[in-house]
């Protein structure tokens, strides 16, 4: 028997290889994120002082929408020829699949963010007043929060009619605390204030939701 972590690894590698091979998703997501930044800067004059002050919120809203578009595609490959059924009849554990998908999405969305952030910085001439390395931590924790829930709810919305619209409907309400924490932490850090509380909150949120999603995923996967 391959251990669960082994299956997570092969599944993740397979996904990454396929993404890499087609480059479809990557290219289009890149372009999409560029567009989002541009659309935002057209809508919110980046040279205006006001826009700069809410840049923390702007960045996260842009990430959120980009992530929703990306997450909607997560399971597309697995249900195309009902490949998911092949997974379900095999002895491989459901959680290995969930972890692989979550990690894959995490990598994907992180790359997106890494590409969008410089654009935002350039367009909005952002400058942090305090040390900015905690932003990395906030970004990682916040992205994980979006992605772990997003992957779970995307799997859930597989079983529903009008799949695409279902994901934001389920994901947004539950992600509100995480979103708030991310925005607040970002703004605090940019303004040189402490964000310890928010980081702890985010970390707890991640921990709780990852655990519960792992506990529940098998049920979701095996529901017809």
């Amino acid at each position: 028997m391959t251990p669960p972590s082994g299956i997570t690894r092969v599944t993740l590698l397979k996904d990454l290889r396929l993404e890499w091979r087609s480059k479809d998703a990557i290219n289009s997501m890149l372009f999409f994120s560029l567009l989002v930044v541009v659309v935002f800067s057209f809508s919110f004059d980046p040279s205006a002082e006001e826009s700069r002050q809410i840049a923390g919120g702007l960045v996260w809203v842009a990430f959120l929408f980009a992530a929703v578009v990306a997450l909607n595609q997560t399971w597309a490959r697995e249900i195309r020829n009902q490949v998911l059924d092949a997974y379900r009849v095999s002895p491989a554990p459901a959680n290995a699949l969930f972890m692989a998908k979550t990690l894959g999405n995490f990598i994907f969305v992180s790359v997106l963010e890494a590409l969008m952030t410089p654009l935002f910085i350039v367009f909005y001439r952002l400058r942090a007043l305090g040390p900015s390395w905690p932003l990395l931590l906030v970004a990682a924790l916040g992205t994980w929060a979006l992605v772990v829930n997003g992957t779970f709810f995307a799997a859930m919305s597989l079983r529903t009619r009008s799949r695409e619209i279902m994901l934001p409907l389920l994901l947004f309400p539950i992600s509100i605390p995480a979103l708030l924490a991310m925005v607040q932490a970002t703004t605090a850090i940019l303004n040189g204030e402490g964000a310890r509380f928010w980081i702890v909150l985010l970390a707890t949120y991640d921990l709780v939701f990852t655990t519960v999603c792992l506990l529940l995923f098998e049920t979701i996967l095996n529901a017809e």
Partner: protein, 224 residues
């Protein structure tokens, strides 16, 4: 060969979809080492029965025992399932597909996967992705996936629909060979005549029930 022992015991299986009962009390025993052809009109419940056997669909009531086990996951190592969709990733080559699914069953031997592909009459060296295979090749590859874990029980849903006569007869020959190695095979199909020589028993389903089991296709077709 010794007298085959019952491999599947199905007792009073009922599957409801809302108000509609797709399986209305199926009770049967199937002994090992045979080919069973499951026939019946559209909507008779053939696919539903097969999916229930494969643990993909939970029955509303009743019980399935495969190799004496009540929970499908205990015996999934010994069952192969082929559905009407291919259950393969369109973007990967046949070999890559099999290598991935083999890992799910804990098989890491690449040479073995190549052998399985050769066994269904394909070339393991093909680099084309499965999406570009012709329908017939894809069906064969799908069969290879089902045969991958060397299952003692094979469940096949309409393996011949949309396949030309020539490929179909070849697939039947292959299956008959597998049966002769002691495997049990269930085939759902509308083209019973293809299986005339090969199947050991024809099972006729009607309105969610098994209404007749016979060795004589001619008589069955005359009666229906």
């Amino acid at each position: 060969m010794t007298a085959p022992a019952p491999v599947i015991i199905v007792s009073n299986l009922i599957k409801q979809f809302g108000r509609f009962a797709a399986l209305r009390g199926v009770t049967a025993e199937f002994s090992g080492g045979k080919i069973f052809a499951i026939l019946g009109d559209n909507g008779a419940g053939k696919t539903t029965l097969l999916r229930t056997l494969a643990g993909l669909s939970q029955p509303s009531s009743g019980e399935v025992k495969i190799f004496g086990a009540k929970k499908f996951c205990d015996v999934c190592q010994q069952v192969g399932y082929m559905a009407h969709p291919s259950l393969l990733y369109d973007e990967m080559s046949g070999m890559e597909n099999l290598a991935y699914f083999a890992r799910l069953y804990g098989i890491t031997d690449i040479e073995y996967c190549a052998e399985v592909i050769r066994a269904v009459g394909l070339d393991p060296g093909l680099v084309r992705p499965v999406g570009q295979y012709s329908q017939g090749m894809r069906q064969r590859m799908s069969l290879a996936r089902a045969l991958l874990n060397d299952p003692k029980l094979l469940l096949l849903d309409e393996p011949f629909s949309n396949v030309d006569l020539h490929s179909a007869t070849e697939m039947v020959r292959l299956l008959a060979g597998t049966r002769d190695q002691g495997k049990t095979i269930f085939i759902v199909t509308h083209q019973a005549s293809l299986l005339e020589g090969a199947a050991d028993e024809f099972v006729w389903m009607e309105y969610g029930k098994i209404v007749e089991r016979t060795r004589d296709l001619k008589r069955l077709e005359a009666a229906r």
